[in-house]
Assembly symmetry: C4
Homo-oligomer: 296 residues x 4
């Protein structure tokens, strides 16, 4: 049994449809498995195909590249679409519950990988710029197929899920600050200086507190600049202060020992200092330190 | 007794006014309590009302939304004002010391939630743009009513209060740097290049050291650019250096073990680590550490 | 003996000049001491005077404030100068080695506090804008007198001194990146796009890698934008990656225990898992864990 | 044997060519060794020469400095080129495998240090601006010769190599976000607002998520500004959230102790801490933890 299948049955329902040995099982092994050379070759080939196809989409969007080479781009796009269609059909053919797979996260991504090009066939007048851009976005979602291949993403996702309450609380505080301080700047600066509405001011507040600082909207009044400076120090300080606190605690003990400002304990026997706060025995002679009860 | 009441009597004086069983007590339970379904439903309803009312204020400030829908906005604003007025009166009616509540933090927030709309009645000529903007700001303070419902805010506030001296010291160092380096740039660049006064230069110094970097004021002289580069490295370095130091210490031990240059030792007896490089005895149990000859 | 004097004799030579009880000793106590009410009152008064005098300098530099109130500003500046002159003379009069004090760090700061105003007397034609700005900068250095009063600055300074080699190494790597990548952009973009020389390109590289991003110089060529994106990810990544690595290690253990992907040890006796990597005894039943030798 | 040689034979093949005592060996000692006064003097002199030569290249690129002093710059550049040529020849002459050295990292850097000036001789028409700029870049690579002299760079490099998988995974997630969110903004904003292609939008996404924020391209539509705000909070949050989580955990224990909600316990026997909340036995020595009833 594949380690990947075991962990993801609900999220990634890819149990094999065929009896062991059948062509279905062999194909299933190649597509979903990592144990055989064929399986691994398939995976590498697929990763390369995904990256190349996305490169084609990205380059096609550049007018100076996509413009002069319409035939080539068209051909490449159809090549990849057909490739991914064959892959998609193969997947559906070899899993026990094709419908379940088609509705799973990766099944939908696989469908999105091929759908845009077919859609552009059915809707022939889609030279409308927005449509083309949307189709490009859908094709670019193919990148999510890659996440299957990196174990660490699962772990990253779980770590995030575990901390989600802390993240929510933190985010809500930041959003409240953006709302309040943004509205304050809306009052202080006003529409004459670019702060035309509360949402606009909140956008500026986000730009400032995250230290991005485009400069498309800037404060002009002295009070506005003062409030803005406070907000910048807040956004930057949220990064600097915790880091500094952690580092300060680590360094403080070392510095204190050297200076002797906090009364560091001296061993009664050998008079040495520099013992950890929680240490019970002298690290130099083994005698018990004053103020603690020895373990034996 | 509600856990929330117990912790916050001074800050949030909401003891029940009525005898148990009276309508006062039942209403008090709904408004301030979290133990009954009615209490929880009230809380959820209130949170939704707060968020919706703020959404109305925010959207109303956008000329293209608030302009064409003045009647609707007016109606919605009165709806929420009346809703919060009823809530406010109910709170005052059910607590033992209504005056104390009215003067507490949340009592004042509740008052601010409803006052602006009544003020706009009494002062009919408040189409003055600044007045409208100030009223919007006051309404937006309703968001603080939400903080009652998230426990973690209390803990966050306490953690901040505990570290306040460290934060003050750190902030004062940053402010001194902004003052000195800002004034230095005022000397070097001068009013011709945008540094029209010391406060203006301090604003630029804050924009630079917090890495926001609007670009509304930039150095033009070579010396100014050099000083600015130093300031940027300072502001960014305050974030990077402590992080790097902490990570370096963590990684160094691992790398050293592989290389064999430092020998981190674990005590044979009690398995504790973290012994000083020159230590000869385990600080946790007194046994001799491996690799050293005991003093006795 | 004052704790401050003891720690700083070399850096801050302020031993008392007079015999105990003399007017010198009493004045010394007031100026340098913190044990008597008079001493503490002096300190508070001095801090307030320093902050007010700097406020005067800062506001004076704003044309709209300093312009119309020249007489007032002039008077205030002389008031503070005379105040600090008296303080300076008093300090010199009460220390045992006035020359040593005058040449120490704080002695020089005290001198700089008063000198500008006297200089502006002797050089009557100093309405030259640069001169005025330089005099303002010198006056603003008074802020350093405040550092005497905050203990934590000493500790902060020592922590920095302790880590100076690490900081130097880190800074040198960053400077090398700024040099190499800046020069690379100088080649790729060239003077037509703002990268007029290597120093200019290094300034841009510092602006980009520290994520300040003024926007006064930006890349225009596709290759330039690609290199710039790499540099941004580098500068931002130096902040993000160590933080992420530290947090990942902390969270990884917790997640692994829950998933059971690394083979966590199960206690032979009670079958519980979730033991720390270095733990030797089962935290739930006290029996020794497999793979470790118990301490007793 | 030199400690540096031992660690780097493969990377830095500099074994001595001559028998001990010969002129080769003595020269080898001076160039590659650090044990003799001559060796150390050579090292210091070389570092100074490298820094000065780079200063010459940097200043030469500034039109106002390099322009008027062409003869001086030319002379200085030839001086350093000849100096480094002599050094290069000396190195090749004293190592046992000159070809291996010439193809090693430092051998190539040494070659690059001198080649540009010779090239500029052979190709006399290289006043072409691009050529000159490329030659300056090659000369600036001399800075890498300095890395030999700082031990910490090796350790830094090894720490990076050790974490390379984590860094790759993290970078890939960031690149995927830049691709997806950049393409999304390409759809939402479109070429009319500066988002002319997917690569351009990815460049903007990198500028925004790394909080650099040039402002050369900014969102104009409300939806675009909302998505941009999300991306800014993401890029800034990746810095803020882990830091906050680490600090919160450190502070929570302290706050909890004061409040008495969690009971961090120290083992009576061996004084170790860090026991899980539900643990009943000390993980370091097996003794029962206070406050719990042992299982047996």
């Amino acid at each position: 049994m594949k380690q990947r299948n075991r962990q993801r049955d609900a999220f990634y329902p890819v149990q094999c449809a065929g009896a062991p040995g059948s062509w279905r099982a062999r194909l299933h092994e190649i597509i979903f498995g990592i144990d055989t050379p064929a399986g691994r070759a398939f995976d590498i080939g697929l990763v390369v195909a995904i990256l190349l196809s996305i490169l084609v989409v990205v380059l096609d969007s550049v007018p100076s590249i996509g413009g002069p080479h319409r035939k080539l781009m068209y051909g490449l796009e159809w090549f990849f679409t057909l490739l991914f269609t064959v892959e998609y059909v193969a997947r559906l053919a070899t899993v026990r519950h094709p419908l379940r797979y088609a509705l799973s996260f990766y099944g939908l991504i696989d469908l999105l990988s091929v759908l845009p090009t077919y859609i552009s066939l059915l809707v022939p007048g889609s030279e409308a710029l927005l449509d083309i851009r949307i189709l490009r976005l859908l094709r670019v979602f193919r990148i999510f197929k890659l996440t299957l291949y990196i174990e660490e993403y699962t772990r990253l996702g779980e770590a995030l899920a575990a901390s989600r309450r802390k993240i929510m609380v933190f985010l809500s505080v930041v959003l409240m600050a953006i709302l309040i301080l943004g509205t304050l700047m809306y009052v202080v600066e006003g529409p004459d200086h670019g702060f035309t509405s509360i949402p606009m001011s909140m956008y500026w507040a986000a730009v400032t507190m995250t230290t991005v600082g485009y400069g498309d909207i800037t404060p002009h009044t002295p009070l506005g600049k003062a409030i803005a400076s406070f907000m910048m120090l807040l956004g930057w300080g949220i990064l600097a202060v915790p880091t500094g606190i952690v580092t300060a605690e680590m360094t403080a003990r070392r510095t204190d020992r050297r200076q002797g400002t906090r009364r560091p304990r001296a061993c009664d026997e050998c008079n040495s200092t520099g013992h950890d706060v929680g240490a019970r025995y002298c690290k130099d002679c083994g005698a018990p330190l004053p103020g603690t009860v020895p373990a034996h």
